[in-house]
Amino acid sequence: METVLGINNLSKQYGKLPALSNVSFTIEKQSVFGILGPNGSGKTTTLGIVLGVINSTSGNYTWFDNSMANPRKKIGAILETPNFYHYLSAYRNLQIAADIKGISYDNIDKVLKIVSLKDRKNHRFSTFSLGMKQRLSIASALLADPEVLILDEPTNGLDPQGIAEIRELIKDISSQGKTIILASHMLDEVEKVCTHVAVLQKGKILTTGRVTDILGTNDIIEVLADDIEKIEMLAKTHPLIKSVSKSNSGKLELSFTSSVSTSQLNEYFYTKGIVLSHLLLRKKTLEAQFLELTGNRK
C-alpha cells in the first residue's frame, strides 16, 4: 500500500502546555482515516501542522513519501472554521482558491452544486448561515479534485439532513479511490464512515488501527443453560468466537469477531442439543466504548 501521510513523533507546546506529545501514525492510500478525540485533544493541531499552518515543536511528517513538490495543491482541506473573505461572493471566494491552486474555474459550478449552494453563488459569504458556510468550505476543499481530503469536524453546524449528505459524500469520494482524513469528536460518525482510526486524548495517541478492531462489534451476548460446562466448551469452538468469560452472576459472556445475532447463536446451541435458559444481547453504548478507550488513562 502507498503511504499518503506519515507522521513521526509530532509534538507541539503552547507555552508550557503540551498540545501534542509524540504523535505518530501512518495513513494509507484509499483509506478513510478517522482522528477521534474529545474537544481539545489535539485533532486540529495535528491537522494544522501537516497542512503547514501550525509549526510543530518537534517531530516531522511526510506527504506522499515526499514524491511531490507542492503536496498541498493535491490536498483539499477544511480546518476548524470556514475561512473566506466575508465581503466577497461564494463564487469569487472559490475563484481565489482556484487561482492559488493553479486550476481553472471549470469546477466551481460543479462543487457548488454538490453542496447545494449553486443558487447562492453570487451572494456574499457574510450573508450565509453557519451550515452554508460549512458547506462552502467543503466545496472549496473539493475544488481541485484532490487526492486527499481533510475534513476537520465537517458536520459542525449542519442539520441532520446536511450531516447525512456529507456522510454520503464522504463515502462517494472514498469509492473513487481518494483518501479521506476525518477529525471528529463523534464516535458514531467515525464508526459509520471510517476504515481506520487514531484515538487522541490530551495530545497523546491512545490507540490506532482498523475501525473494526477498535470500535466494531464490541457487543456481548449473555447466555445461560443448565449445563454450563457444555455451553462453555461449545462456545469456545464457535468459529467466530473472540472471548468467553463468566460474569459474577454465573452467566457466560461471549463476544465475537464479527457480528453474530442472538437467533444465530440460539440456533447454534440448539443444533448441538442445548436449550438456553437465558439469552441477552448487551449493546455497549458509544459513550461506554469511548470511555473504555479513554477513561483508563486519565
Partner: protein, 259 residues
C-alpha cells in the same frame, strides 16, 4: 507575478472600504493642493507668493509634498487589508490551498508595489495637467527637470505601505494595527526625535521618510529662508533600506507564528 497581483486584486476590488480610502485619498490630495494657493500668510511670510510653487518644475516638489501628507491614509487602508487576512483567517486558507508563507508575503509586496505605482501615476498625471494649465513655461526640459520628486514619491509611499504591512501583521486586529501605526508615526517617533539631535533624529524611520521629500524651499525676494534637501540623497537609500527591513520583519513574524 501577474498571477499573484491578479489574486490580490480579486481580494480587494469588490471591497467597498478599499474604494472609500482610494476616493478619499484622491479627493484630499486634489483639494488641499488646489486650496493651498488661496492661503494668505501674515508677518514676514506675507511677501511669499505661492505662484512659483505651482509652475514647472517646482510643481513636482509641491505636489509630491502635499500628496505625501496623505500617505498615512493609504497606510491605514493597508493595515485594514492585511488584518482582514487574519480576522477572516484567510491567510490560513491561502496556505492550506497551496501557498507558502513566502508566496503569501510576496503577493502582498507585489500589491503594495502596485498601489504605490498607482498613486504615483495619479500624482504624475495630476501634476502634468495642473502644470500645463498653470505654467507659462512649456518646454520639456522645464517640465521634467524636477521629475525625480515623482520617483521619490513612489519610494516614500511604498515605505509607508511596507510599514503598514508590518504593523498589520504584528497586531492582527485592524483597530490595534491602526492605533499603533498612528501612535508610532505621530507620537512615539516625534518624541524620540525631539530628545535627539537633528543629525541623528533625521534618520529615524518616519523622520527619514518625510525628509525624503522635504518641505519646499521658502524664498522671499532673492533670499532663501529655508533650503530643502534634494530627494535623491541618503534619505532615498535609507527609505529603501527601511522598507526592506519592514518586509523582512513581516516575513519572520509570519514564519515563526502559527497562522
Amino acid at each position: 507575478m501577474m498571477k499573484r497581483l491578479s489574486i490580490e486584486l480579486k481580494k480587494i476590488t469588490r471591497y467597498p472600504t478599499f474604494w472609500v480610502f482610494i476616493g478619499l485619498y484622491v479627493l484630499m490630495v486634489s483639494l488641499l493642493f488646489c486650496a493651498f494657493p488661496t492661503i494668505k500668510f501674515n508677518g514676514p511670510l506675507s511677501a511669499l507668493t505661492l505662484k512659483s510653487y505651482y509652475t514647472f518644475p517646482d510643481i513636482w516638489h509641491t505636489l509630491t509634498y502635499i500628496a505625501g501628507l496623505f500617505n498615512l491614509m493609504l497606510g491605514v487602508m493597508v493595515v485594514i487589508l492585511i488584518t482582514n487576512e487574519f480576522t477572516f483567517r484567510t491567510v490560513r486558507q491561502n496556505i492550506i490551498d497551496g501557498w507558502s508563507v513566502m508566496d503569501f508575503l510576496s503577493a502582498k509586496v507585489i500589491l503594495l508595489l502596485f498601489l504605490a505605482l498607482c498613486t504615483t501615476i495619479f500624482v504624475f498625471i495630476f501634476g502634468i495637467v495642473y502644470g500645463v494649465i498653470a505654467s507659462p513655461i512649456m518646454d520639456s526640459s522645464a517640465i521634467f527637470s524636477e521629475v525625480s520628486y515623482i520617483i521619490a514619491y513612489f519610494v516614500q509611499s511604498l515605505a509607508y505601505l511596507c510599514f503598514a504591512l508590518f504593523m498589520g501583521t504584528l497586531f492582527k486586529k485592524a483597530g490595534m494595527g491602526i492605533i499603533f501605526f498612528l501612535v508610532y508615526s505621530k507620537i512615539v517617533e516625534p518624541l524620540i526625535g525631539w530628545k535627539l539631535p537633528d543629525t541623528i533624529s533625521d534618520y529615524l524611520p518616519f523622520h527619514n521618510i518625510s525628509k525624503l521629500i522635504d518641505i519646499p524651499a521658502i524664498k522671499i525676494g532673492g533670499m532663501t529662508i529655508y533650503h530643502s534637501d534634494s530627494p535623491l540623497g541618503i534619505h532615498f537609500i535609507l527609505t529603501l533600506v527601511y522598507s526592506a527591513a519592514f518586509v523582512s520583519a513581516t516575513y519572520l513574524l509570519l514564519k515563526k507564528r502559527d497562522n
